[in-house]
């Protein structure tokens, strides 16, 4: 550690002191965590009574509850289906993380994969019995809402960002401004609440969309407003000369956007886009407000079991690790994309 400190080369006394204090604090916290989690921690198969005797971590709560946390109330024997869905999403993210896979076929792959995901989750034919949507839950819900949210919000956001800059179409421009400002001015929780509680009041009786669909639409509209502003930032950052050169070459509006402007503008704003995507991934947990059992909510519900009281730390650490894993993957992909 001394050697590491020396390599850091603190430029003055104060920063040297701050470094030492920080390292000591981290060391203390890490040691305490290690003591709780490993040294005093109980194994994967200890009973709750035994765990509660001393203060060590009780990892058995995860052994007991992980199926519920991951898959919610999905029928137990059918839970291989959401497990496959999680695998599909992970593979899909992996395939999309490289710039070299960014071609039209990738969009087709997404559409096919999402269709497969829905068929798997819902079932309703020979080998796959029907599982109605109100039994879906856990990680697949979180992944589904946030991925479909990103994938559909992104093209919408590009259109809205372009619309907001359309000088020759004042009506479209106004529409885009109103949309962005209204969505950004209202918290996501309120939008979700409106979509699931208030919307049915206005719709004619009998005409009722699936709750998950309504929530998904809200998430798309919500994400698109923020993404649109980020994209607009990229468009504004491009030098005027790029637009003029494209015009002078006689390129049409859409040719100019597609070949010249968007490739440059979007690349400039990859960090802010990923920032919004990461936020969205975590914000989907707000769907609990309308009674959808997402990953975080499933964890919370699992903790309500009277037999397993007092193990919130273990469960939330595990949940946090999964969220962190996906977020780190996103930011790593972002750095890779920026570099290419």
């Amino acid at each position: 550690m001394i050697a590491a400190l020396r390599r850091l080369g603190p430029r003055n006394w104060w920063s040297g002191l701050a470094t030492i204090v920080l390292v000591l604090a981290l060391w203390q916290a890490g040691a305490a965590l290690f003591d709780w989690a490993v040294i005093r921690g109980h194994g994967w198969d200890t009973g709750p009574k035994q765990c509660q005797l001393d203060g060590g971590a009780c990892w058995a709560v995860l052994t007991e509850k992980y199926r519920f946390i991951l898959f919610g109330r999905y029928p137990y024997e059918q839970q291989w289906r959401p497990a496959v869905v999680i695998g599909i999403f992970v593979a899909l993210f992996g395939a999309s993380a490289s710039r070299y896979s960014w071609r039209p076929a990738l969009a087709g792959l997404w559409v096919a994969a999402l269709a497969l995901v829905l068929v798997l989750m819902r079932g309703g034919f020979a080998p796959l019995p029907l599982v109605p949507q109100d039994q879906w839950g856990g990680l697949p819900i979180t992944l589904l809402l946030s991925s479909v949210g990103c994938v559909l919000a992104f093209p919408l956001a590009v259109l809205v960002a372009l619309g907001r800059r359309a000088r020759t179409l004042p009506a479209i421009r106004l529409l885009c401004v109103i949309y962005i400002e209204v969505i950004r001015g209202v918290p996501l929780v309120a939008l979700l609440f409106m979509a699931s509680v208030m919307l049915p009041l206005f719709l004619p009786a009998g005409m009722n969309f699936d709750k998950l669909v309504r929530v998904q639409v809200v998430i798309i509209l919500f994400a698109a407003a923020y993404l649109a502003e980020a994209v607009r930032g990229g468009l504004q950052a491009l030098p005027q000369g790029q637009f003029e050169a494209a015009e002078a070459l006689g390129l049409s509006y859409w040719q100019t956007q597609r070949r010249i402007i968007l490739p440059q503008a979007l690349r400039l704003v990859i960090p802010s886009l990923v920032n919004i995507f990461t936020g969205l991934f975590k914000d989907t947990s707000l769907v609990l407000i309308v009674g959808i059992l997402d990953f975080l909510t499933a964890g919370k519900v699992a903790l309500a079991d009277p037999a397993w009281q007092g193990f919130g730390n273990e469960v939330y650490l595990a949940l946090g690790a999964v969220y962190l894993g996906f977020s780190l993957f996103l930011s790593a992909s972002s750095r890779r994309l920026e570099a290419t």
Binding site: G241, A246, E247, L249, G250, Q264
Partner: protein, 247 residues
């Protein structure tokens, strides 16, 4: 084709209260080479940018290649495909390779395949003597090379008219000549050219006519020799004095 490539009649243009062009009338014949000079802020860029409607004129008429410039987008796009433009700052597309910059327009012509478009683009890169850089990105090239790519990109449209707005002003002195040489060669092919420049050697050598602008007006015009050797106005005498001293 003979007759007028460009006709401007009583063209006016202002930015807010500032008048940039006051009553410009000008004809450029097909195959003619016109050099425009004048002090900074005199309206040279505004004039040349009105010719492909990067700027909209307020009143008067501009006819380019037989088509009047109006808000008719389709007609405008046709005109723009016949009018190449080279900018002071090159304005190459940095995310595309040199070759991709030059295949953008040929690729769009119906019935042309990728291979054919590339061959065409390469032939123009050869004309500006830069084919070996085809697969580099603009940022990897020197200023002079970038401007030659910009010329090739405009030529790849196979335009009938070429506009240059101070094509050598952003270049280091040692790179100016390589760009001027390309333009001189282009002039020898009979291309109609309108060139805003302060390169008086180029003007003497290439221009059929020289135009001196001041304060949004054409103050003097004629063959280069008469403007250089026999300026009629004090403004032009001052301007020539400054140019010679600066050069």
């Amino acid at each position: 084709m003979t007759g007028a490539a460009i006709v401007m009649e009583h063209v006016r243009k202002s930015y807010g209260a500032h008048v940039a062009l006051r009553d410009i009338s000008l004809q450029v014949a097909s195959g003619e080479r016109v050099v425009v000079c004048g002090p900074s802020g005199s309206g040279k860029s505004t004039l040349i940018r009105c010719l492909n409607r990067l700027e909209r004129h307020d009143s008067g008429q501009i006819t380019v290649d037989g088509v009047e410039l109006t808000d008719d987008i389709a007609a405008l796009r046709t005109v723009r495909r016949h009018v190449g433009m080279v900018f002071q700052n090159f304005n190459l597309f940095p995310h595309l390779t040199v070759l991709q910059n030059c295949t953008l327009t040929p690729m769009r012509v119906p019935g042309i395949g990728a291979a054919e478009a590339e061959a065409l683009a390469m032939s123009f890169l050869e004309r500006v003597r830069i084919p070996e850089q085809a697969h580099k990105y603009p940022a990897q090239l020197s200023g002079g090379q970038q401007q030659r790519v910009a010329i090739a990109r405009a030529l790849a449209m196979q335009p009938r008219i070429m506009l240059f707005d101070e094509p050598t002003s952003a270049l280091d002195p040692e790179m100016i000549q390589e760009v001027l040489d390309c333009m001189i060669e282009l002039a020898q092919t009979g291309m109609t050219m309108v060139v805003v420049t302060h390169e008086m050697g180029f003007a003497r050598r290439v221009a059929d006519r020289m135009i001196f602008m001041d304060d949004g007006q054409i103050l003097e015009q004629g063959i280069p020799a008469s403007l250089f050797d026999d300026p009629q106005t004090q403004r032009l005498r001052d301007f020539l004095g400054r140019i010679v001293h600066a050069g």
